[in-house]
């Protein structure tokens, strides 16, 4: 079974040849994909990858450290605006501006982490919620940030490489996503990760063991905000246009939903949760083109819900999927994975 005998076994990336094999297949698929798919699917992959980055970061905070945040759209906005402003006003190259904007977001994350020392559960949720809402208001009032008219992103150059199309951006984004996912995984396996988990499980016990609560809680917020900030900076270039109203409360809630649906405290869960929910978010509007069922749903919606038909049913289906996943697998998609693995290990018994 999964018995680990020493530390190096625990941090090992590839536990067996099988894992290496499938990882290689996945990497190859990711590399070939942009040459086969149309620009729409590449755009979607980019959109998914950005959500993956943010959700991995949020999972460090929610899943591992046991805090909650309804304000991640705020960090996301800080990252997006930070990157664009640093490039247009300070004339920094993208690869410097992006992590720098991430650090700015991390700074705000640290500040938001301070009240978390006293606030818990619903109270913390409200505090972070306030933060998320305030940030967009502030940005909307500052002329430098384009006010409510928004900002266009500058042309993107990395050295001599001019990233014009979604495909170009994909080749930047996917390696970054993998890098950030591996970083998060490593972090969790170190002292920091164990401290965070200890805080989540029992704060007082952790403190008596010598875990610095203030340090680690604010660190968790900072790391999480850094991921969101980097995600935001990348998002600006996927849309090529940003304005304050993009970063809504709904966005924060979606991030949190992705974490919970994917599986709390699991990197793999973050990835699958982010992919599944963002895919549904973009694709559910096509539910009406399913033969028979689509027509029936449209009629149902028009009869009972609203004249707009389509869209309401799409949100209802979206909600129903979330409820069903939580009902049947509280651990999220990661829970399904664990169950499936156990089942096959002992199969046919």
């Amino acid at each position: 079974m999964d018995m680990k005998r020493d530390y190096y076994e625990d941090v090992q990336l590839f536990t067996s040849g099988v894992v290496v094999f499938w990882m290689a297949i996945m990497l190859a698929a990711l590399a070939i994909f942009p040459f086969l798919a149309t620009s729409y699917y590449i755009y979607m992959a980019n959109f998914l990858a950005i959500n993956v980055i943010v959700v991995i970061g949020l999972n460090i905070l929610v899943g591992y450290a046991g805090q909650v945040s309804l304000g991640h759209a705020g960090f996301f906005a800080i990252g997006a605006y930070g990157t664009v402003i640093l490039m247009t006003e300070v004339h920094l190259p993208f690869l410097v501006a992006l992590p720098l904007a991430g650090l700015i977001a991390a700074g705000f994350g640290f500040l938001l982490g301070l009240p978390s020392l006293r606030l818990e559960g619903p109270y913390l949720a409200i505090a972070t919620l306030g933060f998320g809402l305030t940030i967009t208001q502030i940005i909307g009032r500052i002329e430098l940030f384009g006010g409510r008219q928004g900002l266009h992103t500058p042309e993107l150059f990395i050295g001599p490489w001019h990233l014009e199309s979604d495909r170009d951006f994909y080749f930047l984004l996917i390696p970054l996503t993998i890098l950030l996912a591996l970083t998060a995984r490593n972090l969790i396996k170190t002292k920091v990760g164990r401290a965070l988990i200890a805080i989540r499980d029992a704060e007082i016990a952790a403190e008596t063991l010598g875990v610095n609560l203030m340090g680690y809680k604010t660190l968790a917020f900072a790391i999480s905000a850094f991921y969101a900030g980097v995600g935001g900076g990348l998002y600006a270039f996927v849309l090529r246009f940003i304005e304050p109203e993009i970063f809504t409360l709904l966005m924060s809630i979606m991030f949190l939903a992705m974490v919970v649906v994917g599986g709390l405290g699991s990197i793999m869960g973050s990835i699958t949760g982010a992919c599944l929910l963002s895919w549904l978010d973009l694709q559910l509007r096509n539910i009406l083109s399913i033969p028979y069922l689509g027509k029936w749903l449209e009629a149902l919606s028009q009869e009972w819900f609203s004249i707009t038909g389509v869209s309401n049913i799409q949100l209802i289906v979206f909600g129903a999927i979330l409820v069903l996943i939580m009902l049947f697998e509280p651990l999220g998609i990661f829970g399904f994975w664990i169950r499936a693995k156990k089942y096959w290990k002992t199969w046919p018994f």
Binding site: Y40, Y43, R148, S306, I307, T308, V310
Partner: protein, 397 residues
């Protein structure tokens, strides 16, 4: 041997498909169909504007019922983007690269539109009538982007001109939203008043999220303005009028076309909207204008879902699509994008249910070459939300 047969058959079928589809045919156009795309929020913060897309849909159905355009039916692909630019971009790309759209029409919102503008322009896909009065569409102009919605600055000029010339007012103030919508109104008002040698007596900015407008109204009251221009959201406009009434601040309010849906405004303001003068960019809902009546009977009555209301936000969807339909009609059998752009550019004083629409050949330095409408007329809100027409359609230079 059998396998070779299959390969041959497959090659044959593909060749046939290629021939039927017409190699090199325009994207989104077949012998019997023309595919037109549109986004519109049916959910989310801007769902009230969702009726624009439904209006276009009914209009296209009406055209198809009459036999389409030169034998081709208009296939309307609309999707809900919930006013979320990421979704707008996804949906536009999906339809453009999947089904293939010949052109795009309307599309609600500045942010969603700006998220896809460059994509459509780079691919050379025509886009007619973005539903937002923003300068972003025409300044700088784009070859394939044709704006229909009149600029807000223009409406401000028309209102100021009327206040000074017809009503003999001298003290004019403005309360404006602190963004490009409001600032366009401010700019127009300043320019027009400068011509008459007067200045605004008060300029009061308001932020979208402000919830208490009493200080703003106080400033207006102190200025003793005889006329107050409302360049804000519907909500703020109604609040300003309501608070003024409570403060016994008697003045003539004037507003943009965004607040010209009088039955709706009367409903929201509980009657306080009566007497307000507004600019408008299309015929009034109860006007006897024959073309509008035709649309009401043949599009709205036939195809609108029950519960839909015949209002400005509904037939705005027709207003934005009219020039596109007319240009496609003029293309005859040669429905290509280049031809469409030519035909749009040749529209001169085209009259549908909005003001006259004209475009000019593309000039990268002239925003007006892609700004179709520059006409407006003024109406006053009467009891019960009825509208009284104050002026005729007039071109504002």
């Amino acid at each position: 041997m059998k396998r070779q047969g299959w390969v041959l058959l497959l090659a044959g079928v593909m060749l046939l498909i290629g021939l039927v589809a017409g190699v090199g045919a325009e994207e989104g156009v077949t012998a019997t169909e023309i595919h037109i795309g549109q986004w519109g929020p049916q959910t989310g913060p801007a769902a009230a504007w969702g009726s624009v897309a439904r209006g276009t849909d009914a209009y296209f159905k009406m055209i198809n019922e009459r036999g389409g355009i030169n034998g081709r039916k208009l296939i309307h692909h609309m999707f809900d983007d919930a006013y979320n630019p990421a979704k707008t971009k996804a949906g536009v790309k999906e339809l453009q690269e999947g089904t293939g759209m010949f052109a795009w029409v309307s599309g609600v919102g500045t942010a969603p539109g700006l998220a896809v503008r460059d994509y459509l322009m780079e691919r050379g896909v025509p886009w007619v009538g973005p539903s937002a009065g923003s300068l972003h569409w025409v300044d700088p102009p784009h070859k394939y982007l044709f704006a229909v919605y009149p600029l807000y600055a223009l409406e401000a000029r028309a209102l100021c001109r009327y206040a000074v010339a017809n009503m003999g007012k001298q003290k004019i103030a403005i309360i404006y939203q602190n963004d490009d919508y409001g600032k366009n109104g401010l700019k127009g008002a300043r320019e027009e008043l400068a011509r008459h040698g007067i200045e605004l007596v008060a300029e009061v900015p308001v932020n979208v999220t402000d919830s208490d407008l009493k200080p703003h109204v106080m400033k207006l009251k102190k200025s003793n303005a005889e006329v107050v221009l409302l360049w804000t959201t519907v909500r703020h406009a109604v609040m300003t009028v309501g608070i003024s009434k409570a403060m016994r601040f008697q003045t003539q309010f004037m507003s943009t076309s965004t607040c010209s849906d009088f039955p709706l405004m009367m409903h929201i303001s509980k009657g306080a909207w009566e007497g307000v003068i507004a600019a408008t960019f299309a015929e009034l809902p109860d006007s006897g204008y024959p073309l509008l009546q035709t649309y009401k009977q043949e599009a709205f009555d036939q195809y609108a879902a029950k519960g839909e209301r015949w209002g400005l936000f509904y037939y705005a969807g027709i207003v934005f699509a009219e020039p596109l339909v007319e240009a496609i009609r003029r293309c005859g059998d040669d429905v290509t994008r280049e031809r469409l752009v030519q035909e749009l550019e040749s529209l001169k004083d085209f009259k549908g249910i909005s003001g006259k629409i004209s475009y000019k050949p593309f000039d990268p330095n002239d925003p007006s070459c892609r700004q179709g409408q520059s006409q407006t007329f003024l109406v006053q809100c009467m009891a019960g939300g009825k509208a009284k027409q104050l002026t005729d359609w007039a071109t504002i230079d």
